[in-house]
Symmetry: C2
């Protein structure tokens, strides 16, 4: 059901990062479900995490271990969330097991988990899996890692880029899992970006925050936000440059991470459409973003997207309830790609249903709303609400 | 697909209110789509309306005409929303047509519309329909009126009550249409309550507000809010008492209107479950309501309700993203009816999956969440998210 989701393709090894994967049988059988990242000494890690009150044990542990780090240990199939004190112990134990095979201190390893909430990690299988992943460490295993962290994803998702900054060649590779429960504040999403840029703890943290804000914090599938979302950037320093070229690095990495973020929407649960929602003409960025999310979250809009129904009524219903104080409908217009559907709050005189239907028949299109009261604009990406979304989520666990 | 939706049954005539219905062919064929209410001289009308920025033309007109009134004119099939200046003119013309047959001034009639947004009312058919509804005015036509205002409702919905207050017998009958796009701020919902209590313009407005707050503003189907929602109370005064017994009247009418409001959820689009979500133990009513709505709106919770899956993970995900500042998961518990699923933020030791599944197999059950940090509580009612919801909303217009 994915919408124009490109294959992960060639994922470049990142100097200073070795990866091992293993099948631990945590929930899934006959596939890898552990990924272990060994980071060269001198690496720094930054990250942004879910804002859920119910943040999972591994998130609590990982968030305390940003900065100098030597390893990341990830499992799929079990989120180790809503697991209380024992969950924290299990997350720390997983790190200790990983530290043994990487050869570092336990507190130099960050844990990540994704999957079912409310069940304890099977620590015997975790231990065996981490040991075997440690034995399998190699330079070039980003694609197997992208596979190992999947849950309801239909495909592994990853991107790589190489570019020159300050006379040095820099490599970056990033992978992501996540296809539902996705919206700002990081949703059920685990994303890992590795680069050989040389970044201080402060700058690598800035990079995680800035990249996250421009990419993962601009997408939504169902408006739900998970307990485990994490976007982590690991910088090994092998390329020699970094901090002093921060702006250039951010500029070069942004399209790469936006591409990756959009792939989670393309692979959205039951998605049949990839839709860009742009709200412009707002008095503030905040009201544009709020209106864009209200449109992107509305079940009535999302079913219209699924049906390919250019239903101006549902769009104006959603804009109307977005809480844009004092909005004058007479200033609002709507375009579906190049088609002007509504202008001045009314269906446009030139508009025909056929034009709107043709735009929405595309796999990908842009919903552009102009609030007609300012110069601010924001964009989010979303998918539609299909029978398949209901099926996946009604059958996921039972 | 409705969940234990009782038939409208016997709806009592309300002294001082005559009702006529007619088939105008506005959108639907071979069914009534106009309802005209003629109110005896001396009647007062109160109302609460959608807070959408895109409130429809009839809402704008009706909201200006609260107080002394002589008629209500309602059509289904076309919402007269997002129709600009012409929409306002059409709403006013509908009132003028109704005033002619009722025998009053145009500004003593309030207009209401529900249906497709963004299309102009077919005024020739409206005129003919209103004329014929006027010819059909009779004392006892609440049930035909409940039918005439339906859109995607599976059944007409109405309730009646008779009680004695201050030595007088008071009659109240109320009808509602609405089965999607329903949430606070009145959603796609038209509800009309008629009573022969004697209420001043101020008290009838209080009554609409107080009853709405306790009933229609506590339910949600899909979180969407419409352009047309209106809850109107018309009091004819025939029973002779009212204002001086306001509290008693409110107390007696509340269960009647709560019953009516719950019927819109029971008839929710694609609903297979009627679910009461109670959040207690909150530090404020506001945070309880926010948490209850976040749970009730979450697509992942709603698909779990559909699947009958007692998925603690999805509930704690939703509670976690409700923005309850400083919430300690260790204080949170969850009951499904009598079954304690989670306690202290963890799956309860006594809990078995079978218990949870048995509770959720019921047509109706209560999700009770305790935040463990205060004495406030709030309740909302909701339905699940089924294949049928997607079908109805993907096919509604196309």
């Amino acid at each position: 059901m994915a919408v124009n989701l490109p294959p992960a393709g060639e994922l470049s090894a990142v100097p200073g990062i070795r990866i091992g994967t293993a099948a631990a049988g945590i929930k899934y059988q006959e596939r890898d479900d552990i990924a272990l990242f060994a980071l060269e000494r001198g690496s720094n890690v930054g990250g942004v995490f879910t804002r859920s009150s119910f943040r999972a044990a591994p998130v609590a542990v990982a968030a305390e271990r940003l900065g100098a780090a030597r390893g990341l240990v990830v499992n799929s199939g079990n989120a180790n969330a809503a697991t209380g004190y024992r969950g924290l112990e299990d997350a720390r134990s997983s790190c200790a097991l990983a530290a043994d095979v990487v050869g570092c201190e336990a507190n130099e390893v960050l844990p990540f988990s994704t999957g079912v909430i409310g069940e304890f990690l099977p620590m015997d299988r975790m231990a065996e899996g981490i040991r075997r992943a440690g034995n399998a460490l190699q330079d070039d295993a980003w694609l197997p890692a992208a596979r190992a962290i999947m849950t309801t994803d239909t495909q592994p998702k990853g991107v790589s880029g190489r570019f020159e900054i300050g006379g040095s060649h820099i490599t970056a590779t990033a992978i992501v899992k996540g296809s539902g429960m996705i919206r700002p504040d990081m949703a059920t999403l685990l994303a890992f970006l590795g680069t050989d840029a040389a970044l201080s703890p402060e700058k690598v943290q800035d990079l995680a925050r800035d990249l996250g804000e421009r990419s993962f914090n601009r997408l939504t599938i169902d408006g739900d936000t998970s307990t485990n979302d994490s976007f982590v950037v690991a910088a090994t320093g092998r390329a020699g440059v970094g901090d002093e070229h921060y702006d250039a690095l951010l500029t070069r990495l942004t399209p790469l991470v936006v591409d990756l973020a959009q792939r989670t929407v393309r692979d959205g649960e039951g998605a049949t459409k990839f839709v860009t929602v742009t709200v412009q003409g707002g008095a503030s960025a905040d009201e544009c973003l709020r209106a864009a999310y209200t449109v992107a979250h509305s079940p009535l809009v999302k079913t219209a997207l699924f049906a390919g129904d250019p239903n101006w009524g549902r769009f104006c219903m959603a804009i109307g309830r977005a809480g844009v104080e004092g909005l004058d409908p007479a200033g609002v217009s709507l375009h579906l790609d190049e088609v002007c559907v509504a202008h001045g709050g009314l269906v446009a005189a030139s508009y025909t249903e056929e034009q709107g239907a043709a735009a929405m028949a595309r796999d990908e299109f842009t919903v552009r709303i102009d609030l007609g009261r300012g110069d601010c604009a924001e964009t989010v990406w979303t998918s539609d609400l299909s029978y398949e979304y209901v099926r996946i989520n009604a059958e996921y666990r039972t």
